[in-house]
């Protein structure tokens, strides 16, 4: 019996077959299925397909991260520490490294539903292979731009925001010039969105542009510009805050938890004051240490280890510090691995 005939009989059932006289028809069918099925599995003709050659991807310009960092990324992506993905990506971007190829699809999937800030980080660690791969899947076309310039000229608004962030990371001045050149022709919503990209690499040379934008007719635009200007001069506020802390340590325990990490200089100033602060804060210290572990600028977090040791050394804080210790150690490991 051919496999085709066998299949036909098996589908129709032996009951419906005219040859109902055969009382062992089912067993015969099963026997054939055992034999023909095995032939089918063991002797399937090889399938042939002539593949269309892929267009090769451009050579990589950034070195791949090391094994330990790759394992860390995998752990973060497996959602054991999703809150640290942005920070890890920022560190990787700062280190000028790219992720292993095997992680690219999952990062693209993450980027697909992410905000422009996260998208920009992901595109910055993907290397040439990410651009190559994104071109092959329509759902990832947001990441398929060969250059940030093209993306800025031709992309949708959210893609242009990503592009401006990328440009800004490469050169704040060039990105500013680009923004200035298109500013008069942009619609209100585009202006607000694009202006936000200036948070990356914010510098005093941005001030004239921001002051000019303060006169814009759109209220959201003015607000964004004002926040950026405030941030430019934040060091003045931070100086004032430090003065207060020096006068009265308890101010440190009531530091507002900022939405963004503390600036590098403020983080340094806090770390430098740690021994005194911890001695004076006593019972308020654990809360302060917990906040500090989350808010310290990553570049200063290495010094922040001193904070950890000081905290653990004091009995009264040890119990409350487990999470702080863990967070700091985790972040230190992330940093160290990306240097390898």
């Amino acid at each position: 019996m051919s496999f085709g005939a066998l299949l036909e009989q098996a589908l129709a059932g032996t009951l419906r077959l005219a040859a109902a006289g055969d009382s062992r028809a089912e067993e015969g069918l099963l026997r054939s299925a055992a034999y023909e099925g095995m032939v089918r599995l063991a002797a399937r003709p090889l399938q042939r397909a002539v593949p269309t050659p892929w267009i090769p991807s451009e050579p990589e310009t950034k070195p791949e991260i090391g094994l330990a960092a790759a394992e860390r990324l995998r752990e973060i992506l497996d959602e054991r520490r999703p809150e640290l993905l942005r920070e890890w990506l920022t560190l990787a971007v700062d280190a000028g490294r790219r992720v292993p190829y095997v992680e690219i699809p999952e990062l693209l999937e993450t980027a697909r539903s992410a905000d422009p800030a996260l998208r920009e980080l992901i595109m910055n660690v993907g290397g040439q292979r990410m651009i190559w791969l994104a071109r092959l899947n329509p759902e990832w076309k947001f990441a398929a731009w060969p250059s940030a310039d093209d993306q800025f000229e031709l992309g949708t608004l959210s893609e242009r925001v990503v592009a401006l962030r990328r440009l800004r990371r490469a050169s704040p001045a060039a990105a500013r010039a680009k923004l200035e050149s298109v500013w008069p022709n942009e619609r209100v919503d585009a202006r607000v969105a694009l202006l936000g990209a200036l948070y990356i690499g914010l510098e005093s040379a941005d001030e004239p542009l921001l002051r000019q934008v303060l006169l814009d007719s759109g209220r959201d635009i003015r607000d964004t510009a004002a926040r950026l200007l405030q941030r430019l001069t934040a060091s003045v506020d931070e100086y004032e805050l430090l003065r207060q802390i020096d006068a009265d340590a308890s101010v440190a325990a009531r530091l507002p938890s900022p939405t963004e990490p503390w600036s590098e200089s403020f983080s340094r100033a806090i770390v430098a004051r740690l021994p005194t602060l911890l001695a004076r804060l006593r019972y308020a210290a654990p809360a302060f240490l917990r906040d500090a572990a989350l808010c310290l600028d990553p570049r200063v977090a290495a010094d922040g280890e001193r904070l950890l040791h000081l905290g653990v050394a004091s009995d009264w804080a040890a119990g409350a510090l487990e999470r702080t210790v863990e967070t700091l150690e985790y972040r230190r490991a992330m940093r160290d691995e990306l240097r390898q």
Partner: protein, 405 residues
């Protein structure tokens, strides 16, 4: 999500466990292996209850580790009001009689299964496609009663073969033929050569005892851990770890079950190589193994033992010749390029021979390959390859391992 066993243990005479149910206190479940009778503290009026059935199946699939019996066990077993004639030492005659009884029960189950298969074919597969899942479930339950959990699993899988797939009738016919072949082999067990006999016994559900396997002379080698697949079953996680012996040039499979829902850590991570003693379960082409002693990591896996699609298919056919029931076989392909057509993934080798891919790893493979030839390792089921790792740049990269249901 598999149910959580809070505690599991086994002695020569009994298996026990504690499991969280709806009550505050976990239920205490115990099975007397001498009499196959079960007790459980759950309020269900149905006996044996689902906890006892679960524990029986668990014990058949992967006996828990030996442990000192907890205090509640003795009392629990005495509740059975059986004459307390349990002995400290197993009487070989009684053990043999018990084994015969079990085989007799299995044979009864096998007869039922044969009738059920014939019914299925009398009505036709077209009708079977519209059969409720329950019909498979009932047959499967009957086989659990007959103490043939292996056959029970076979039937469940028949029922869960998705009708949607393109070649459903073909696969169904092949599967039915294989079940029938297994029934026939069981009836003629004594005529088979010892290796195949061991395969049939374990497929039906009579597993070799762990200790017996560990007593065999081991194979010492540097074992490359080439891939791992974790499947979330109905009652537990099943984890398959594939090894390749560098000197022995043979495959080995470590099978781990975890009723607690956590992947098992035996320290053998994909991408690493270990010196270890492996003891193999008996079979016509022994594959499943246990690690004896502590493995020692030597280095990282650099290459795959890959070959062309044609050679791989020949090797697959030969292994089917030794054991026609294998559901999957380890397969390493050299220099293949990923391909995507109409949303379906495949790989082709230099001779343009193609193997279809299954599983979620298509894009990952393409990302690693960049359109260039790569070596791929995975599980082959006769139809498609489920990729688990890829060799790239002198290093084995495990593909992302997502627990499947």
């Amino acid at each position: 999500m598999p149910r959580r066993w809070l505690e599991l243990g086994r002695t020569n005479d009994a298996v026990w466990g504690r499991i969280k149910g709806t009550a505050n206190e976990p239920y205490q479940v115990a099975i007397d292996l001498q009499t196959s009778s079960a007790t459980c503290t759950c309020p269900s009026r149905r006996r044996p209850c689902k906890h006892a059935v679960g524990l029986t199946m668990l014990n058949a699939a992967a006996p828990p580790a030996e442990a000192p019996p907890p205090e509640w066990l003795a009392a629990s077993l005495q509740q059975r009001q059986k004459p307390a004639e349990r002995r400290a030492i197993v009487d070989p005659e009684r053990a043999a009689a018990r084994a015969r009884r079990r085989e007799q029960r299995i044979t009864e189950g096998v007869d039922d299964l044969q009738r059920w298969l014939e019914d299925l074919l009398r009505a036709g597969l077209a009708e079977a496609a519209s059969r409720p899942w329950r019909s498979f479930e009932q047959m499967s339950a009957r086989l659990v009663d007959a103490q043939a959990p292996g056959l029970a699993r076979y039937v469940r899988e028949l029922g869960s073969l998705p009708y949607g797939v393109r070649d459903w009738p073909e696969r169904m016919v092949i599967e039915l033929g294989q079940v029938w072949l297994l029934l026939t082999a069981w009836r003629r067990l004594q005529e088979l050569e010892p290796g195949l006999r061991a395969d049939v016994r374990s497929l039906v559900g009579l597993n070799e005892a762990r200790d017996d396997v560990l007593d065999r002379p081991p194979e010492h080698d540097a074992w490359d851990v080439l891939g791992r697949r974790v499947i979330e079953g109905e009652r537990m996680l099943v984890q398959r770890t594939w090894l390749w012996g560098r000197n022995s040039q043979r495959w080995a499979l470590l099978l781990d079950f975890d009723p607690g829902g956590q992947p098992v850590e035996h320290g053998l991570a994909p991408g690493q190589s270990f010196e270890a003693d492996l003891c193999f379960y008996a079979g016509a082409a022994p594959l499943r193994a246990l690690v004896r002693g502590a493995p020692r990591q030597v280095d990282a896996v650099a290459t795959l033992p890959g070959c062309s699609v044609a050679s791989a298919m020949r090797a697959y056919a030969e292994s089917l010749g030794r054991n026609p029931w294998q559901e999957r076989t380890p397969l390493a392909l050299a220099s293949v390029v990923p391909m995507r057509r109409d949303g379906a993934w495949s790989v082709t080798d230099e001779q343009h021979h193609m193997v279809e891919l299954s599983g979620p790893a298509g894009w990952q493979l393409l990302a690693v390959s960049g359109g260039q030839p790569i070596d791929v390792f995975g599980e082959f089921n006769g139809f498609s390859l489920h990729p688990l790792s890829v060799a790239y740049n002198g290093r084995l990269v495990p593909l992302r391992d997502v627990a499947e249901t």
